[in-house]
């Protein structure tokens, strides 16, 4: 996880916030909660098996929000939700790591936060097509298709430039179309 402090070490940490930045205090956090808790909750509902038994989705959303409070100085103004989606990706990956004692020596760079085989997608064809995609393509497509991200926000979540995000999305969409074609050929055959 990215723990970079983002603040110069030689400045007194307690004294003052940057000038143009609203204080990240309790009121800020309450506003953050009101604005984004629903979206975060939905993020987990979409990605947990069986639609995220309500309590799991709540617990994980709460974990992200508590992380946002704990690291409130790192949360960028104007991009709070992308920051939390990014955190959510790691929280979900951790959650799944805890649940599954897979003997795995490989730690993927890309947090694979969607398990198509176990996801709550009721459309079986969609699930199969998702399973044909790489974890990164899945992640990008679902952030856009389900969570409604676009443009700069998507770039923020992926931690890449805007141009890079647009290109990645474009490629992912192309591969999605290919996967559909392949799927339909299999079904037709």
């Amino acid at each position: 996880m990215d723990d970079s402090p983002g603040a110069p070490q030689d400045e007194p940490p307690h004294d003052r916030p940057p000038h143009d930045r609203p204080p990240h205090d309790e009121a800020w956090f309450s506003a953050l909660f009101d604005a984004h808790s629903r979206a975060l909750y939905s993020y987990f509902v979409r990605r947990l098996p069986d639609g995220g038994r309500t309590s799991d989705a709540e617990d994980l959303a709460a974990e992200v929000l508590a992380t946002a409070w704990r690291r409130r100085d790192d949360v960028p103004d104007g991009a709070e939700l992308p920051w939390m989606y990014r955190t959510a990706g790691y929280v979900l990956a951790n959650h799944r790591r805890k649940l599954r004692a897979l003997p795995v020596a490989v730690v993927p760079d890309e947090p694979d936060d969607v398990d198509p085989a176990a996801s709550a997608v009721s459309d079986d064809a969609v699930r199969q097509v998702l399973a044909r995609l790489s974890p990164r393509d899945r992640r990008i497509l679902l952030l856009v298709a389900w969570d409604g991200l676009s443009g700069d926000d998507l770039a923020q979540v992926l931690g890449v430039s805007r141009g890079g995000a647009d290109a990645a999305l474009s490629r992912a969409r192309a591969r999605l179309r290919d996967a559909w074609d392949a799927h339909e050929q299999v079904v037709d055959a």
Partner: protein, 298 residues
């Protein structure tokens, strides 16, 4: 809905329409907030885990200061239903090492058909160990007791290394290197079929026996005994080599079968698995689903 939802891409539109959260109920805001507050209070009460927070603990809380702010959260969560705290905490802590691939369908005759990966204490090198080892091979299976063996002894400190013979697997010439497909479904009478999944070839399945990602989940030797190291191996001599027997196993036949695979959420899948046998009749079983549809996320 968003700028990417444009016409002319039915694949994407169908993906959008499949959003599972469209039908999901809204969270109960009060409950969610209480869980957040409980977690924050927990953070305030406990020292930060190393390497997790970075300098956040001391980072500037401009007006209130973190202590007082978190104290607020503490008070608020005390005021709210305390049982929620327990529930939330339990939800986070509950981890459970998911056991998996507990064997069935004749995979391990009388063996402890347990493919749970070795956890910390056990060295991972028990991979492919003969779990259902034959009774008459006591020098092989019971040396931990130190009863009647000379050649293999447990270490007296720092934990015991497994004393099983290391196995090196080779694919026999008769095995196929053609991948295939097989069904994955949910276990049970009304088992939902998840589809036809790619499976590795027989040769790749043998390679999995020696692959640490899979070897911990291999159902061990069942059936007849394979060749054993000779009994009554010489006692260790000063300056002499340490006995570390390694057995070469050549897999001569592979058959695609099925194994139960319980997922963390309680769902049990029936997955394709290879039963791999050597010439002596010993059989090992390993999951057959190809890498691309195995989610290796930890």
């Amino acid at each position: 809905m968003n700028e990417h939802e444009r016409a002319g891409d039915p694949a994407f539109d169908r993906l959008v329409a499949a959003d599972p959260a469209r039908r999901a109920p809204d969270p109960v805001q009060g409950v969610l907030r209480a869980k957040v507050d409980a977690l924050i209070a927990e953070q305030a009460e406990q020292p930060e885990p190393a390497g997790q927070a970075g300098p956040a603990g001391q980072a500037g809380q401009p007006e209130a200061g973190q202590e007082s702010a978190d104290e607020l959260a503490l008070r608020r969560h005390r005021r709210r239903a305390p049982w929620l705290v327990a529930a939330a905490v339990a939800g986070i802590v509950a981890a459970g090492g998911g056991g998996y691939l507990v064997g069935e369908s004749g995979l391990g005759s009388g063996s402890s058909a347990d493919m749970t990966s070795g956890s910390s204490a056990e060295a991972p090198s028990v991979m492919g160990a003969p779990e259902g080892a034959p009774r008459d091979e006591r020098d092989e299976v019971e040396p931990e007791r130190g009863a009647d063996t000379e050649d293999l002894r447990p270490l007296s400190t720092g934990g015991d290394l497994p004393t099983t013979t290391g196995l090196v697997f080779h694919a026999g010439v008769g095995l196929s290197d053609a991948p295939g497909t097989a069904d994955v479904r949910v276990a049970g009478a009304s088992g939902e079929r998840l589809g036809s999944y790619p499976v590795v070839s027989e040769v790749e399945a043998v390679e999995r026996l020696g692959d640490p990602r899979f070897a911990g989940a291999v159902l061990g030797r069942s059936g007849e005994a394979g060749p054993r190291p000779k009994a009554g191996a010489p006692a260790p001599t000063p300056g002499g080599p340490v006995a570390w027997p390694v057995e070469d196993v050549t897999i001569v036949s592979a058959s695609l079968t099925q194994a139960n695979y319980p997922l963390a959420d309680g769902t049990e899948l029936v997955v394709p698995a290879y039963a791999l046998s050597d010439a002596g009749g010993s059989t090992w079983t390993v999951i057959a689903v190809a890498d691309e549809l195995l989610d290796f996320a930890p």
